[in-house]
Subunit: 377 residues, 4 copies
């Protein structure tokens, strides 16, 4: 059985960057249709948004609880299959939990919650309900990230020794960076961390996705450069991994002039890899014994995982949206498998364990930065 | 009035690269729905394709004539608004003409036809029917191409003097490059030119789009490197423009190892511009009097046309598909305007004049290459 | 026998860019010492220049004839071994000839002369005198150019099909570009061509050096964009080679904002190569069957010729000067061999045949551009 | 008074990378002549080396003490003006001290000594002798580093907030990396640190040179990946600066496949800068309010310091050697000033304070890494 999936959305009203990205990504493969939603907390604006999306007004709900209740009442062949939760951090956990308990699969923005405790509780909800959950760490959707992962797994790098991740943006360099920015540095909306919750978690997740390694201890230095902010807008952290590798993540949202400069470098005893999100079609492979190689998306030499995640021929640039859409596609495939009777199908998308892990990472970061000490995970 | 547009497609069956691109691009903005089609000449495969696209089997037609007839019979609020023609070159003209005459708007792949005569006839059909026509020169859809155009128009380069365009692919370097390749070098399918019809026309079109200049004479050297091919797989051409500027296009499909290396460089008496399709987020601006500037999509300094064509923040890479989708969006906007009563609405998409111009360009190229002489347009 | 060579110079007075480059390049390897010269036509300035170079005032001569005469009178173990001729084009031939006839080896700037006739006469002088002659096509001195040459010779590209050379500078974009610029577009000083003599010859020479191919016919379009100039400041030319390959050179000195953008791209039926003078440490190698490779100077995978021409480890950038110095070193080695009794020693430096070839190239270019016809070489 | 300076060298025998670099750099400007030396500890090889350098055999000494004594005996217009000390770390201090006390100026490789105590003693020797001292932190010699320094000083970045430095090499990734490598990880030759002494000191020095900021506390994690090494071959360190800025240096000599990847990024509240040693001709300047700018060596927009340090026109690549030579030139100018009677002339070259600072940095690094604690400088 294969059919178009019906999707709902909570969050993503007018002006919200990420909600529109989710909608575009969900459309891309032609197998998902947005049919219901709550597009922000302003009911009138949400309705207007639904209208522009050609939705049935009856399925643009005042709030997420109404939506759960409303969709549960619909016939099985009309109600949504899953919901995308794209609100500020604070609401990720309660909304996800409510939809899961209502019988709906959930795809949620990162970070998963406000605490590891919430994340662990969400795991229990998943076990109880048997529903599926995806966490939107979109950068894992890039084909050349998948290529990196495969090369590490295949031993092309040998034993991984050093992992360096840079994640620099300039958008919070000035005090007033707009509504999208302000909630991210407000504890009641964002949680215990600002910059690190927003982008540091992507770094931690990407490292794990590509190398499979876990952080065993860390030493962090979080900073707040713009006066008046209650949370970090910058941070560095030194890492030790479970195989003995070391690493560093330095993330900043006050790196004036940077756009979305997310760079992963991994060195093993045989070779090194470099991937840059702003030039995502390249994966650079270096050894001491041969010329540098640049793997290009969908060009010769690229492995199965990257090819499957790739839609256009090499040289026809894909980008952020396609990576995003790959997460949607993998999640949709899992839902279809579930509809066809498979229990707890897995797939190439981040999930609950990534969520628990990212919250523990954030909690350790804050503790280390506050104490100046190494913290064991 | 705004509503989702209903789209049909002719061509783009299994394995056809460009058909899938059209479908994905059409989906991206959420205002177009594919509802009917003929997906290649193999009826069984076409049906299978329609099924995978979740189409009503009744609207997957045996051939394009059936489709015109079938759609004409449907109620006005069901039948397609426009058709996308994505077949080999030979069929562009007859299919476009049939749909126009059936009362449908048409978006057609380039090159528009097999001859300038056909293109001119198509223009007459447009005048007669009052329908709208878009020609898919997708590279004009890139935001930084629009930025280049605006900067030239604003005089940032001064008087344009020299235009250099490189367009190199390696995909036809070997004799057997697959079905997608073979029709492109077969005269009965492709027309009087191979490489130049396939990619040289993009170069000619992009120059005109960005600079507004017209070629007044040219001197070409077309080549066929792979034995057995009846058409050019490589070519160079020297150009003279109507403002006195000079230029060169060198295009090749036997440039082994190149992916889709399309580069535009324009020099005026004040400044120069460089755009590379494989790094489409950058537009490089150079003068003799100041540091090099790199305009980045949706970053500060970029003008209105580029911003409007941009969907994600800077640093979140957009690519080929978004450029493609911009053509669809502009054409959809024109159709909506037409539905709302506007006659012959225009928009930022290539059309019939581009088609006539590209055919005259191809005819001049072939004549010049055969005679070794300059040819006046 | 090995000893420091004694060098003289004609030209390269204050403000002359290339004279200082020659002096610095000659010093680099520690085996050449500048001991005599005529540094421009202004005798007082020349003397001042000699003083700043710590030269014996007795060996700073009023003009080149005095210098030939003066040096001939010195004891054999004092007089210069060779002279570097770095004047405007007009004087290359007479000065070179005078020194050769005086018994001195000559290293001369390009282009070798004002006509192929002069170049051919110079060859006769060489035969007669048995002296050595080097022509300063410095770009052939780059290690990664030598790597390209070796890879072509080793068959890594298969049969060469297409050669594209871009050479763009912006320095002559405005009418008054200074003294260094003005003589280059003055026929009495520069010869029959401006831009093409200045940089087009580099392109032609580099193609031959790397591929070994000869141009058999060409079709050129020279242009003069800045009013008042008597020679071309821009030009394009389509090329046909003796193995059936095609190519294009487009060169401009009015490409506003460009510094010294000299790019060589060669495509064979197996692979392609790309080298950019402004990033000279890289040689990009592309095939349809494997990831792109970037050969880096003195890194693993680089062959003997490139290694020998390289002095620093990879990642410690070498540049223009080291390439220049490699020509000096190869010429010095030949002189030492000659001092040790070897007749007509050769080496990895351009010489008289390159000079004759470049003059024939220029003459064909001008003829083709004037007639609009293909010219057979 | 201006004359050629006479230079001696200790170290830099056959196979030593850096000795040859020093000799070539010293030659480049034509105002320094190498006349004496001790080229390594093997006397026969040293003599052979002297011969190849065309030196008077009488001035190739058995060891540095003989050299001090021998040169002191020579007439004032024959003896060396200064010595370059290019041995392994252990000997930097005793040799420098001996030459200073013998009345010679000294240019010494980094790190200055084995301990801050030695460095402080050397400062006392300088005060006592009145001689001049330069420390070869060659990366400060790059024109675009000087441009960065000037832009920071001019306030183009506003208040500096974050400084990230990456310095990655792969040359020590394998256990047996040759003689040049082995002494660098041997405590008796290299001191208390391996990787950090070799390259971390460059990072610390460059930060100070460009920003003028001092580290007030740091937290380091040094690692030794290759078994059997007694010193770090990798390390990361988090930094706090005296103006409140934060930073990170991550350096590695086991970053397999990296050549000499030294990258400096500085972010202020107004703008950010990026410089990469492997592409040293560019300085990237980013703000949130305008397109990215790429300052190019000797192109328009570049300031006085960078211009003075530049020899060739933009687009004619300069590199490592020219940067090195700029340190020599500045030191030579100071010596000439001293010869002309100026006491303690300064210039744009690193000196004793840089040496003391780098030793304190190394000592703090090791202490922090051993204790896992922040260390205040």
């Amino acid at each position: 059985m294969k059919r178009k999936l019906r999707m709902g959305m909570v969050g993503g009203g007018p002006g919200a960057f990420i909600g529109d990205v989710h909608r575009r990504a969900a459309r891309l493969n032609g197998d998902i249709e947005l049919v219901a939603g709550v597009f922000g907390t302003d009911v009138a604006k949400s309705r207007e948004c639904g209208k522009e999306l050609f939705l049935d007004p009856a399925r643009v709900y005042p709030d997420y609880k109404d939506m759960v209740a409303g969709e549960m009442k619909l016939p099985a062949d009309e109600r949504i299959d899953f919901v995308a939760v794209v609100t500020p951090n604070r609401m990720h956990y309660p909304i996800s939990k409510a939809f899961l308990e209502g019988g709906f699969h959930v795809l949620c923005e990162k970070p998963i919650s406000m605490s590891s405790k919430e994340a662990i509780d969400l795991k229990a909800t998943l076990v109880k309900t048997g529903k599926l959950f995806a966490l939107m760490h979109n950068y894992t959707g890039y084909p050349m990230v998948k290529q990196a992962r495969q090369m590490v797994a295949d031993g092309a790098l040998g034993t991984v020794r050093k992992i360096n991740v840079e994640y620099s943006l300039g958008w919070l360099a000035a005090p007033n960076a707009g509504k999208q920015a302000s909630w991210r540095v407000t504890p009641s909306e964002a949680g215990i961390s600002g910059c690190m919750a927003d982008i540091g978690t992507h770094a931690q997740n990407l490292i794990h996705y590509v190398t499979g390694l876990d952080i065993v201890s860390l030493n962090a230095d979080l900073a707040t450069f713009v006066p008046g902010r209650a949370l970090d807008d910058d941070g560095s952290v030194m890492l030790r991994f479970n195989n003995g590798a070391r690493g560093v993540i330095f993330a900043s949202e006050v790196a004036t002039g940077e756009e979305n400069n997310f760079v992963l470098k991994i060195y093993g005893d045989k070779a090194g890899l470099e991937w840059r999100q702003e030039s995502p079609e390249n994966l650079i492979f270096r050894t001491n014994d041969a010329p540098m190689q640049v793997y290009r998306r969908n060009w010769a030499g690229v492995g199965e995982a990257a090819k499957k995640a790739s839609h256009l021929p090499a040289g026809h640039p894909e980008g952020f949206l396609e990576a995003f859409a790959n997460i949607y596609r993998a999640f949709a495939d899992a839902i279809i498998a579930n509809l066809n009777g498979e229990k707890n199908p897995t797939g190439d998308f981040p999930g609950i364990e990534d969520g628990i892990s990212e919250m523990r990472f954030l909690e350790a970061l804050v503790k280390s930065s506050n104490t100046g000490q190494w913290v064991t995970m």
